[in-house]
């Protein structure tokens, strides 16, 4: 927990000039990304930027992966080598990426009304373009938007944000710098019922 950088200064400001509960600037782009996807969204939380493409419901590529009573949700995450400050290429089999995609899949499978599309497949392709903390929250928020953009029936939105604690003061929407120093948790909620979908 020893860091040269002050996480929260005496005036109550964080290293990037935000207050404790202040979120970073959010920008959303829902324009089609030219790949023929059914829905797409590019979302940035400050310097974290992800782009999500949703295909489907469509015919499953592998018949073994279909269910006779619901659609199969397939999530693939790719992290661009240039997305973080040190250039690093991660393969598709990387454990961290697999965990991320499994988390996102577990978050969305109960929210999508999969029983309406038996034997189909819904593909969610997530591309991480820039990383500055709060990767999971950005992925979840962008996926929600892309699914809505694709016209796929959902029970509710899923909204996610990261929170951390610096000694006794809680902080929201951590940057990479804060995320490395603080214990943190990402929470996903469905606003209508207020139910939690995910705690990581």
């Amino acid at each position: 927990m020893s860091s040269r950088i002050e996480i929260l200064n005496a005036g109550g400001y964080r290293s990037d000039g935000r207050r404790q509960y202040e979120l970073r600037t959010i920008s959303i782009d829902l324009s089609p990304q030219g790949s023929g996807a059914d829905g797409s969204a590019t979302l940035s939380h400050g310097l974290t930027q992800v782009s999500v493409c949703v295909f489907g419901p469509r015919e499953a590529k592998m018949r073994s992966q279909t269910y006779h009573d619901r659609a199969n949700v397939n999530v693939e995450v790719g992290i661009a080598a240039f997305s973080s400050s040190e250039r690093r290429k991660r393969g598709r089999g990387d454990k961290r990426i697999l965990e991320l995609s499994q988390t996102i899949k577990a978050t969305f499978e109960p929210v999508i009304q999969t029983s309406l599309y038996p034997r189909s497949q819904i593909d969610i392709y997530i591309q991480v373009l820039q990383q500055d903390g709060g990767l999971l929250q950005a992925c979840i928020n962008a996926t929600t938007l892309a699914l809505i953009n694709a016209g796929i029936p959902l029970y509710d939105f899923v909204c996610a944000v990261t929170g951390g604690v610096h000694s006794t003061s809680p902080l929201l929407d951590l940057t990479l710098l804060e995320e490395n120093d603080l214990p943190n948790v990402t929470v996903g909620v469905m606003p209508r019922t207020g139910k939690g979908r995910l705690v990581k």
Partner: protein, 312 residues
């Protein structure tokens, strides 16, 4: 900067309507979307109405006696049925729809066809015409030469015949105007832009035939002469399953490309396709003497769309 505000709570003032209140059309302002002709945009998870007074339709679900939207789109009401039509969605097939599709797989006694729907459609061997229009039961020998009719990758035009219990659609090509497609080019547009028309086979006077598939696949091809149509004397029944393109001259090729580019431009500006719109757009592009390839440039495309929407 997007400010962080607490989530909007469900309005407490919204009282649950009794059916007799609704019959009197005494709807308060919060539920004015339920009046016919009004439009309201909704989003997943939004409370629409009580499930005691209304029935849930497509794009909605019921939780805790409330009808809640599950897609983003416009709310529509027919009598007591509340539906939400999504802004963008895949093609939802209905019996009798004309679709353009591509063969993806050859299976025992059936073909699988990609028709831009949620699952591949099935085209049964029993629901195709034999070359030459012979009427008989399909034999085992026909089953063995299924690839001579349709192969993987072939494009075809067909009609939705029925649905299987699991929701897959079954197609048929039992008409001489349906079958394999050649002499042209495929364009894909969002399915919502193709409306139901009296006829989905359109002949433009520039020597181009169009097939507007309701699934958003549009086939643009060389004009077939009246005398060579199905049932006429010049019609070659043996060529129904031919893989060979006819001789297409340069002017027809240009016209096909021009129509294709016009459709791409109109679709990118969300203009619904119809024969009059396409004809006007074609005439405009001839008047402006624009090169076919330049049609795809942003400024020319916008000029085209504004001139069309101004007229229509």
């Amino acid at each position: 900067m997007i400010e962080f505000t607490s989530f909007r709570q469900k309005p407490e003032t919204l009282s649950v309507k009794h059916p007799e209140d609704v019959d009197m059309m005494d709807l308060d302002e919060d539920e004015d979307f339920l009046e016919i002709g009004s439009s309201k945009i909704t989003y997943p998870g939004e409370y629409l109405t009580s499930s005691q007074a209304f029935m849930r339709g497509h794009g909605t679900y019921v939780d805790n006696e409330e009808v809640i939207a599950s897609v983003a789109g416009t709310v529509e009401r027919v009598n007591k049925l509340v539906t939400v039509r999504a802004v963008r969605t895949r093609y939802n097939p209905e019996v009798g729809d004309l679709v353009v599709g591509r063969i993806t797989e050859v299976q025992p006694r059936r073909w699988k066809v990609d028709a831009n729907s949620r699952q591949d459609a099935a085209l049964m061997l029993a629901s195709v015409n034999l070359p030459g229009g012979v009427q008989r039961r399909k034999l085992e020998s026909d089953e063995l030469q299924m690839r001579t009719f349709f192969e993987e990758g072939d494009l075809l035009v067909a009609e939705v015949q029925a649905f299987f219990p699991d929701g897959t659609m079954s197609l048929h090509t039992r008409s001489l105007s349906y079958g394999k497609l050649r002499n042209g080019q495929l364009v894909t547009v969002p399915p919502i832009l193709v409306r139901r028309l009296k006829s989905h086979f359109i002949s433009l006077p520039c020597g181009v035939d169009l097939i507007l598939g309701l699934n958003g696949y549009v086939w643009v091809s060389k004009h077939v002469k009246e005398s060579e149509r199905e049932g006429e004397e010049g019609f070659d029944a043996e060529a129904v399953y031919s893989n060979q393109n006819d001789q297409i001259d340069d002017s027809t090729r240009t016209a096909i490309s021009r129509v294709t580019n016009i459709i791409t431009v109109l679709a990118s500006h969300s203009v619904p396709l119809s024969d009059t719109v396409l004809l006007e757009a074609y005439e405009w592009s001839i008047e402006q003497e624009t090169d076919v390839k330049n049609l795809l440039q942003d400024e020319i495309g916008e000029a085209l769309v504004t001139s069309i929407t101004a007229r229509g």
